[in-house]
């Protein structure tokens, strides 16, 4: 007997499989008395505050000032920065720093940083979610370089976890980012900066 048949057989003897409709009916009865969100108002301010709590730099900028804000951030970090196809052209229109579009995998470790957009953000937890679609690049782009600048549009910020998850597509690879790389492994205290980007900066475009 294959391992698969044997394991499923052991399970079957304890909890026999029931018709899918019955399973679905039971699932629907799960009591979800928890809140869909913990805050209704001031969601952008809450998001900025919660991201900053992780010791990430957060700046709220009007949409039209975004190019200047990006240029200023990158100028402070000498070296080449990676961007992905699909990043709005105007975002980097004012940038003087050298940019590498769609860098090769073996070039990532030599980059000073990466600039990406995102798919959604969660105010309550200060989380930004990348789905690695246009303007975000493959997962390695925002992982290997030591600096990550993320642009979050105001409309992408949801109050809490449930509403953000609803809008994400699980068939895509997703990366949830809450602050810079950190560890709690030394005496259970949070220390920023291990393997992922040690500096995270967030521009909220409104």
């Amino acid at each position: 007997m294959s391992a698969r048949e044997e394991i499923l057989g052991r399970i079957e003897r304890v909890v026999p499989t029931r018709p899918a409709a019955d399973v679905a009916a039971d699932y629907a009865r799960i009591d979800r008395g928890y809140l869909r969100r913990h805050h209704d108002d001031g969601v952008l301010a809450l998001f900025a505050e919660r991201v900053a709590d992780y010791r990430a730099a957060v700046v709220r900028v009007p949409e039209h000032e975004l190019p200047a804000a990006i240029a200023e951030r990158l100028a402070a970090r000498p070296g080449e920065h990676g961007i992905a196809s699909g990043l709005p052209e105007e975002w980097t229109a004012a940038t003087a720093a050298p940019l590498v579009r769609d860098p090769a995998a073996d070039a990532l470790d030599g980059l000073a940083g990466a600039v990406t957009g995102c798919a959604a953000a969660i105010a309550e937890t200060g989380t930004i979610v990348l789905d690695h679609g246009p303007g975000q690049g493959p997962r390695a782009l925002s992982l290997v370089p030591d600096y990550h600048l993320i642009v979050v549009r105001a409309a992408q910020v949801f109050p809490d976890v449930p509403e953000a998850l609803e809008r994400l597509d699980p068939s895509r690879p997703l990366t949830f980012v809450s602050g810079p790389s950190a560890t709690s492994d030394i005496e259970l205290s949070r220390v920023e900066g291990v393997h992922g980007p040690r500096t995270l900066e967030v521009l909220i475009a409104e």
């Binding site: 294959s2 391992a3 698969r4 394991i7 499923l8 052991r10 399970i11 079957e12 003897r13 304890v14 909890v15 499989t17 029931r18 899918a20 399973v23 039971d26 699932y27 799960i30 009591d31 979800r32 008395g33 928890y34 809140l35 913990h38 709590d53 470790d109 309550e124 493959p138 997962r139 390695a140 976890v161 449930p162 998850l165 699980p170 068939s171 895509r172 690879p173 997703l174 990366t175 949830f176 809450s178 602050g179 810079p180 790389s181 950190a182 560890t183 709690s184 492994d185 030394i186 005496e187 259970l188 205290s189 949070r190 220390v191 920023e192 900066g193 291990v194 393997h195 992922g196 980007p197």
Partner: protein, 492 residues
């Protein structure tokens, strides 16, 4: 292999640490180690306070906890259905699913997959399942080097040590211990390395960077697997997980068959429960999700190993089954007075603390001294139950397993001690069952700190002399007092 095949079963399922004494013997040594006690007290006290604050921030915590419990119970009640659904969806998304009856089979599968790539090195992200099956040791026997990349696992690996905490395996090491280990065992440790946590983290970053960039095979565990989409989820902090999940060409993930949630939506519960319970954060720094393979992004080859290893035997136990709800947050360790003093090593298993005391004997069977003694490694104070984000009634399972240990376990001094101290209650499974119900009832009368002041009716006789409902063979406090904090001979 029969679920009660005794010590043979232990070897096939989860290795007991070599020469592991029973819990009381191991705990005696640990408690006598003042430095270990100091490190543990500092770390667990810090995290307890922070966790309480993180939980208090959400006024619907109890509703989230109830939902988490119900979702996991629903999965367990329909496990065959959801495993088939997961297999179907992972396969449809380009992954390959393997099934492993026990640790030995899982290790053979993983070693075979690594060999098929022609590689002799793998990078690993911290995983309880691979700890449980002793994967690193099994790979080493096949000539494959497994590099742990989580900072704490690295500390344990470089220090030739054993993990002592689910979340922070090197919790028994303080910063100066860690510096000493790095200077001794890390070939590229910077000269003049101090014990500043930032410098230690920097040293680990430099040490592992080349490994990440050249690794062709990654090995991970899984925090959650979403049945209806085939999505796998890994929560982490350092970015080593993202490296292992993203950069290699081949990814092999090992998960216990119980780590399922039915639907994508269910993550809205667990992504709130887990980070706050484990690292006391609103959210952990990084969570990665992937579904099969993603062309142009990440591994080209993805393998998922579904591990039974005693879980179906645990499922068959109506009372013990709830241990399979565990999401490995480690909150129960941090609040446990026994864990805080004895440390993780005394439990003789990758799963220490209260959850380990009910998980290890169920996964491995109670054929060994350490497993038969684990259900006694508790004062039944109930703090673990209160802290558990999926409401596992750990004291209830402990009492249940004590009955099983008395019925099936090896006859050793612990049993006699238990008999002597607990008298008639433990001698009969029927009476124990009554005591067990009383114990869970007792928790309903428990005060804020999880201590039972007074039970109603005939049970009041118990609480006149003690504040825990079922007497352990010797309570930790009594032992502590008798041996003057473990510094004097036991005289038993």
């Amino acid at each position: 292999m029969s679920p009660t095949a005794g010590t043979d079963r232990v070897a096939e399922t989860m290795p007991t640490y070599v020469g592991m004494p029973s819990f009381p013997d191991a705990a005696r040594e640990a408690v006598a180690d003042a430095r270990l006690r100091g490190n543990l007290a500092h770390a667990t006290t810090t995290i307890r306070g922070r966790r309480a604050a993180a939980v208090a921030e959400l006024d619907d915590w109890e509703a989230l906890r109830a939902a988490g419990k119900q979702i996991k119970d629903h999965v367990l009640a329909n496990l065959g259905h959801y495993l088939r659904l997961l297999e179907e969806n992972v396969t449809a998304a380009g992954g390959t699913v393997h099934w492993a009856r026990d640790a030995a089979e899982a290790n053979r599968i993983v070693a075979g997959l690594v060999k098929a790539t022609g590689e002799t090195e793998v990078v690993k992200v911290k995983s309880m399942a691979t700890q449980e099956i002793g994967l690193n040791e099994a790979l080493a026997e096949e000539g494959i080097a497994a590099y742990e990349t989580d900072l704490a696992e690295l500390i344990v690996q470089l220090g030739d040590d054993r993990p002592s905490h689910i979340l922070v395996p090197a919790i028994h090491r303080n910063r100066s211990d860690i510096r000493d280990i790095f200077l001794r065992a890390m070939d590229d440790a910077p000269e003049g390395l101090t014990d500043s946590p930032a410098e230690l983290a920097e040293a680990a970053r430099r040490h592992l960077r080349a490994k990440f960039l050249s690794a062709k095979v990654g090995v991970s565990g899984v925090n959650f697997a979403v049945a209806d989409t085939g999505t796998l989820v890994v929560l982490e902090s350092e970015g080593n997980g993202r490296m292992c999940l993203t950069l290699p060409e081949t990814l092999i993930s090992v998960m216990g068959v119980e780590k399922l949630v039915p639907s994508w939506r269910d993550l809205e519960v667990f992504l709130q429960l887990l980070p706050r319970s484990s690292t006391a954060e609103r959210m952990n720094p990084y969570t990665s999700t992937w579904t099969g393979t993603h062309p142009g992004d990440g591994p080209r080859d993805f393998h998922l190993v579904l591990l039974d290893n005693g879980r179906t035997a645990t499922l068959a136990d109506d009372v013990g089954r709830q241990a399979l709800r565990c999401i490995r947050c480690s909150a129960c360790l941090n609040v446990c007075p026994v864990y805080q003093r004895a440390g993780g090593h005394a439990y003789g298993s990758p799963y220490p603390g209260p959850i380990g005391a009910i998980l290890s004997p169920q996964i491995r069977g109670i054929g060994s001294d350490v497993d038969a003694s684990l259900p006694y490694a508790s004062s039944l104070c109930g703090a673990c139950f209160e802290a558990c984000p999926v409401a596992i009634d750990i004291p209830e399972v402990l009492v249940h397993l004590r009955a099983r240990a008395v019925e099936q376990g090896p006859r050793h001094p612990l049993e006699r001690a238990a008999m002597g101290a607990a008298g008639w209650t433990l001698r009969s499974p029927t009476r124990l069952a009554l005591a067990q119900r009383a114990a869970s009832m007792g928790r309903r009368f428990a005060g804020r700190r999880g201590r039972i002041r007074r039970l109603p009716g005939p049970l009041s006789a118990w609480t006149e002399t003690r504040d825990a409902p079922v007497p352990p063979p010797e309570s930790f406090r009594a032992w502590w007092a008798r041996t003057n904090g473990g510094t004097e001979g036991d005289g038993r």
